[in-house]
C-alpha cells in the first residue's frame, strides 16, 4: 500500500502560499500631499528585457529630472517598478496590480504590441492611463493609452515616400512573422499599387529565426531597388551578416529597417549594416538642443558606452508630456488629464512634439537615417514638417481597403 501523501504538511504549504498571495493590504492612495505614485511596467527579465530595460532607464531619467526640478504639482514622483517578464499574462496581472493595489496615477511601459493589447482591457476597465513609447502598426486609438511612438503614417509611409523620391521602384519585403510586419507589409503593398511600385517578394520568418540563406540569396538574385525590413530582434543579426555574405551591397540595394535602432547595431556588427537605412523619428545624432542635453544626461547617468534610441526618447518624452498635461489640468485624475491632453506641446530631443487629442498620438517629424561606421545613424532625410498622426490611415485614398 502506498503511504497517503501527508495532507497536513501539504496543507501547511498551501496556507503559506495563500499568506504570500494575500499578505498585501490595499495599496496606498496614489496621490498624497508630498508624492504621486506612477507605475513603470517593462520586461526586466525574459527575451524582451534587452529592449525594455533601456526604456525603463529613460523613464527613470525623466522622473529623476522632474523630481530634482520640484516634481509635479509640488509632489515628488514615486515610481513603482513592475516586471512584465516578457509574458503577456504577467503584464496584464502587473497592470491590474499597479492600477488597483498601488493606485498609480499613470503608467509608463510595455513594448510589444502583444503586451500593449494584453494590458489594454485592464486600463480600460480601471480607467487608467498608459504611455506607450514604441512605433507600432497603428489601427488603434484607445482613450486609455497615449501613443508616443510613431504610427504607420509617421514612419512607414514617409519612408516609402523617401524611397520613391530616390527612384527605388521595386521592393523586396522581409519581416518576422507577427502583427507589425504583416500589417506594415499590407500598407506597403497598397502603397506600391497606388504608386506604380513593384513588390518583388514578401517573406516572413518565425521570430528568432537565424537561417537567412534562402532569403538573402533570393535578394541577390532578384536585385530589387531596395529591401524593406521589418525583422525583429535577433533575426536582424543573422539577416545582415548573411546578406553581406550574399554579396548584397548597401549602395546598390539598400535595406530600410524600421525596427533597427542604435541599440541593436552593436550586436549586428557595424560593418555588416553600414550604409543601410533606417526609418525613425529620432536618432542619437539628431541635432536639437534638447537632444544634446538628453544624450548628455543619459550618458552621465548610465555610462558613456550607452546609446539612446527612438523608443527610449519617446519614453523619456512620455514623462514630460504627462507632467505638462497634469499641470495643464491641475489634477492627477485620469479624466482631467485626458481632457487636457489635446495640444500639449513640448520641446523634445526629436524636436517639437504635441499631442493630437482625438487620437492621443503625437504630431511628430519623420526621419530616414543611414548607419555610419561608428554604429550610429546619420539623418539623411526628414519630413518637411511634423506629421499629424493618422492611425487608421483615413486620409489616404489608396488605404481605404485597409480599414473597414
Amino acid at each position: 500500500m502506498r503511504t497517503r501523501p501527508t495532507h497536513t504538511a501539504l496543507a501547511t504549504a498551501l496556507a503559506l502560499t495563500i499568506a504570500a498571495t494575500g499578505c498585501t493590504t490595499p495599496g496606498p492612495a496614489g496621490v498624497d500631499d508630498d508624492t504621486v505614485t506612477v507605475g513603470m511596467l517593462h520586461s526586466l527579465s525574459g527575451t524582451m528585457a534587452i529592449s525594455e530595460v533601456t526604456v525603463r532607464d529613460a523613464v527613470q531619467l525623466a522622473i529623476d529630472e522632474i523630481n530634482a526640478d520640484g516634481g509635479v504639482l509640488g509632489r515628488q514622483i514615486e515610481p513603482v517598478i513592475e516586471d512584465g517578464a516578457s509574458d503577456e499574462a504577467t503584464f496584464a496581472e502587473r497592470a491590474q496590480k499597479l492600477l488597483t493595489s498601488d493606485n498609480a496615477a499613470t503608467v509608463f511601459g510595455t513594448w510589444t504590441s502583444a503586451s500593449r493589447k494584453a494590458v489594454l482591457p485592464v486600463f480600460e476597465r480601471n480607467n487608467g492611463l498608459l504611455w506607450y513609447p514604441v512605433q507600432y502598426e497603428g489601427l488603434e486609438a484607445s482613450d486609455n493609452i497615449v501613443y508616443t511612438g510613431a504610427t504607420t503614417n509617421q514612419q512607414i509611409i514617409p519612408a516609402l515616400d523617401h524611397l520613391r523620391e530616390q527612384g527605388h521602384t521595386s521592393l523586396y519585403l522581409v519581416g518576422s512573422d507577427y502583427v507589425f510586419p504583416r500589417t506594415a507589409n499590407q500598407i506597403i503593398t497598397a502603397y506600391a499599387q497606388a504608386h506604380d511600385m513593384d513588390i518583388v517578394a514578401e517573406e516572413y520568418t518565425p521570430m528568432g529565426h537565424t537561417e537567412y540563406s534562402t532569403i538573402t540569396n533570393d535578394i541577390a538574385r532578384h536585385e530589387p531597388d531596395a529591401v524593406f525590413n521589418t525583422l525583429n530582434g535577433d533575426s536582424n543579426v543573422s539577416f545582415f551578416q548573411q546578406l553581406r555574405s550574399a554579396g548584397v551591397q548597401a549602395d546598390h540595394t539598400p535595406v530600410l529597417s524600421v525596427s533597427v535602432a542604435e541599440e541593436e547595431i552593436d550586436g549586428i556588427g557595424a560593418d555588416n549594416i553600414t550604409g543601410h537605412l533606417t526609418a525613425w523619428n529620432y536618432y542619437q545624432s539628431t541635432e536639437t538642443e534638447p537632444n544634446s542635453r538628453f544624450v548628455q544626461a543619459f550618458t552621465d547617468t548610465y555610462g558613456p558606452d550607452r546609446v539612446t534610441s527612438d523608443p527610449m526618447q519617446s519614453a523619456y518624452n512620455s514623462v514630460h508630456l504627462w507632467k505638462a498635461a497634469v499641470e495643464e489640468a491641475d489634477s492627477f485624475d485620469v479624466d482631467d488629464v485626458r481632457a487636457a491632453l489635446d495640444g500639449i506641446t513640448i520641446d523634445a530631443p526629436e524636436g517639437t512634439i504635441s499631442i493630437d487629442g482625438p487620437t492621443q498620438h503625437l504630431v511628430k517629424t519623420s526621419r530616414v537615417g543611414q548607419v555610419n561606421d561608428d554604429g550610429l545613424i546619420d539623418q539623411i532625410w526628414s519630413s518637411p514638417e511634423p506629421i499629424t498622426p493618422d492611425p487608421y490611415l483615413e486620409s489616404y485614398d489608396w488605404a481605404t481597403d485597409l480599414h473597414s
Binding site: M1, P5, L10, T17, T21, L139, R182, S404
Partner: protein, 370 residues
C-alpha cells in the same frame, strides 16, 4: 498504516481534503481582496495542469515537455468564444468580426471560427481537442514504442511547432498578440467581484473533482498497470498487456486536464497568447510538478501553486536572482529530492512516527524508462 489506527488513518485523508476544500471555498473569498483571489485562481489553473502531468509523468513515466500545447488548445477554444461574444455585443463593431481580423482585412468570419459562437461547442472543444490531439500523437508514438527521452523531445518539438502555427496563422489566431479583452461570458460581466468569486469557486471545484478522479484512477488496477508500465514496459507485454492504450489514455487524460485548465484560465486572466504556452512555459509546468512531487497528485498541485506564487512574489523584486533560483531548484529537487515536497513531508513524518518499513516504500528514483 492500517496496522495501527485503522479508523483514524482511514478518515484522516478525507477529513483533511474536505477541510481544505471548505476553507478554499468559504473562507478565502472572504479573506482575500478580488485581485488576490483572481491571482489564486490563476495559480490553481496551473495546479490542474500539474495534476495531469503528475498522472502522465509520475505514474506513467511519460515526460511531457509540451503540455503548454494542450493548455493552449483549451484556452484558445474558450478565448475564441469570448472574443466572438465581445464582437457581437460591441455597439461600435458593425461587422461582428473580432477586432484583430478587421486589421488583417477579413470581411467575414472564417469557417474555423463559426461554431465557436456557441459556448457549448467552445467548452466541448476545450475538453475534447486536447484529448484528441494527445490520443493521436500518443497512440502513434507509443504504438511504435517511442518513449523516454525521445518522447520528451517530440513533445518539446510539438510545443515549438504549435507556437509557430499560432503565430503564423495570424488571421485566425491573432498571432503573437494572442486573444485578449473578454468583458463578458453569456452576458455576465466577468469583472464584477461576484463573477471573480464564481470563477474562483469553479476552479477550486474542478481541481477537487479532477484530483479525486485521478486519485481513483491511480488506485485502480489501471493505475497499477500504469505504474508497472512505467517501471518495466517490456515486462508488461509478456504478461499479455498491450502498453499502448494505457499510456495513451494517461497521456490523453493529462492533456484533457491541461485543456480544462486553459479554458478556465482565459476568463480568469483575460488573455491567451503564444508566449504563455511555448517551450519554456511547458517546461515550467513540469518544474512545478518536480518540486511538488511527481509521484503525488496533491504534491504536484501544491507545487504548481507554490511555484507560481513564488514567481509573482520574487520575480518582481529580484528577477535575475529568480532565474538562478529556478535553475538551482531544478538541480536540487531532481538531484536530492526526486519525490519533491510530498516526498520530504513523508520523510519528515516517518522520522516522527516510525512505521513498518513495507508501508513506507515510496517509489525510489526509478530506473530507466528507455
Amino acid at each position: 498504516m492500517t496496522h495501527t489506527h485503522p479508523t483514524l488513518t482511514r478518515w484522516r485523508g478525507p477529513i483533511t481534503f474536505i477541510t481544505l476544500l471548505a476553507a478554499a471555498l468559504l473562507l478565502l473569498p472572504l479573506l482575500l481582496e478580488p485581485f488576490r483571489l483572481n491571482l489564486l485562481a490563476q495559480y490553481l489553473c496551473y495546479s490542474i495542469v500539474a495534476l495531469g502531468i503528475a498522472l502522465a509523468w509520475g505514474r506513467g513515466g511519460m515526460l511531457t515537455l509540451g503540455h503548454g500545447v494542450y493548455f493552449g488548445l483549451g484556452a484558445y477554444a474558450m478565448a475564441m468564444h469570448l472574443t466572438l461574444e465581445r464582437a457581437a455585443h460591441d455597439p461600435l463593431n458593425t461587422t461582428g468580426l473580432p477586432q484583430f481580423m478587421q486589421v488583417t482585412g477579413a470581411t467575414e468570419l472564417p469557417l474555423l471560427w463559426q461554431p465557436f459562437t456557441s459556448a457549448t461547442f467552445a467548452i466541448t472543444t476545450a475538453v475534447l481537442a486536447p484529448a484528441a490531439l494527445a490520443t493521436l500523437l500518443g497512440w502513434s508514438v507509443f504504438r511504435q514504442r517511442v518513449k523516454g527521452a525521445y518522447f520528451a523531445i517530440l513533445n518539446q518539438a510539438l510545443a515549438a511547432a504549435f507556437v509557430l502555427l499560432l503565430i503564423g496563422q495570424q488571421h485566425l489566431t491573432g498571432g503573437t498578440n494572442g486573444l485578449t479583452d473578454f468583458p463578458t461570458f453569456a452576458g455576465h460581466d466577468l469583472y464584477t467581484p461576484t463573477a471573480q468569486t464564481t470563477l474562483y469557486t469553479l476552479t477550486v471545484l474542478t481541481l477537487a473533482t479532477l484530483y479525486l478522479a485521478f486519485r481513483h484512477l491511480t488506485r485502480s488496477r489501471y493505475g497499477k498497470l500504469l505504474t508497472a508500465i512505467r517501471d518495466a514496459e517490456d515486462r508488461v507485454r509478456y504478461l499479455g498487456h498491450d502498453p499502448t492504450w494505457p499510456k495513451t489514455l494517461a497521456y490523453a487524460l493529462s492533456a484533457t486536464a491541461a485543456g480544462i485548465a486553459g479554458a478556465l484560465f482565459v476568463p480568469i486572466m483575460g488573455i491567451i497568447s503564444p508566449t504563455l504556452i511555448g517551450v519554456i512555459p511547458s517546461i515550467m509546468m513540469v518544474l512545478a510538478v518536480a518540486i511538488g512531487g511527481r509521484y503525488s497528485l496533491a504534491g504536484a498541485a501544491t507545487g504548481a501553486l507554490l511555484i507560481n506564487a513564488a514567481q509573482t512574489t520574487f520575480a518582481e523584486t529580484f528577477s535575475g536572482t529568480w532565474t538562478y533560483l529556478q535553475g538551482a531548484l531544478f538541480v536540487i529537487v531532481i538531484a536530492l529530492a526526486p519525490q519533491g515536497l510530498a516526498g520530504l513531508t513523508t520523510t519528515l513524518k516517518n522520522h516522527l512516527t516510525p512505521t513498518p518499513p513495507e508501508t513506507t516504500t515510496h517509489p525510489q528514483p526509478h530506473k530507466a524508462h528507455t
